[in-house]
């Protein structure tokens, strides 16, 4: 079975631009979470979605938004990019959300110049 997939794998943007990252969960998983991992640090929680509804949001500015589609795939959007948004963006899926095990995709590495 395919794991969590993310696209693109790498992305280079300039300050002020907007970016959309995509995630497809493991088949049968209804919950998707997004994390940001800055170099040298552990991942930080951004959003969790379950059945197309936002279940939780981390301490990130409103420039960050996300949505989940009927097929349970998800998009993370970041507007007005800053240099500090350069990071590895990880998507994770789980069956029902909550305390279930989350399985991570390979991530999208975003570089903002």
């Amino acid at each position: 079975d395919a794991g969590v997939t993310q696209s693109p794998t790498h992305l280079i943007k300039t300050r002020g631009q907007q970016v959309t990252l995509r995630c497809s969960p493991i088949s049968g998983h209804k919950s998707v979470s997004w994390y940001q991992q800055v170099l040298g640090q552990g991942p930080q929680f951004i959003f969790q979605y379950y059945e197309k509804e936002e279940r939780g949001r981390g301490n990130f500015p409103d420039r960050f938004s996300a949505r989940q589609f009927p097929n349970y795939s998800s998009e993370l959007n970041v507007n007005a990019l800053l240099l500090g948004d350069s990071a590895l963006y990880l998507c994770a899926s789980s069956l029902e959300g909550g305390r279930e095990t989350q399985y991570f995709g390979p991530g999208t590495r975003l570089l903002v110049l």
Partner: protein
């Protein structure tokens, strides 16, 4: 607020020797604890989790973790380390609705 702490930035061990990666936690209520591993330029891989029950949890690739409630610890162990175990290890705690809180990570270096 809940959190985990990994007191060691790096652990060095010779191949074939026992490996231990330390983690302590702070939660209100019953803890749900995980260990994940991250190889260079790759995503995070799930190793094992503790929810309730036996204090010794067995996971993938020969890893196990010991939950100690009195010491609020959840140390990761492997009886005999391999060079291929060299990676970044994260101790993780989750709240009731699935927000994962990661420790800072411990770099494991296994030398031949």
């Amino acid at each position: 607020a809940q959190s985990v702490a990994q007191p060691e930035d790096q652990v060095n061990v010779a191949e074939g020797n026992p490996l231990t990666v330390k983690c302590t936690y702070s939660v209100s209520g019953n803890p749900y604890l995980f260990w994940y591993v991250q190889y260079p330029n790759r995503g995070l891989q799930f190793l094992l989790k503790y929810i309730t029950g036996d204090n010794l949890v067995k996971g993938s690739y020969g890893f196990e973790a010991e939950f100690n409630k009195s010491q609020t610890s959840f140390h990761l162990k492997k009886p005999s380390a391999l060079v291929s175990d060299s990676a970044l290890y994260f101790c993780v705690v989750t709240d009731s609705w699935g927000k994962l809180q990661f420790g800072a990570g411990t770099q494991v270096v296994v030398t031949p």
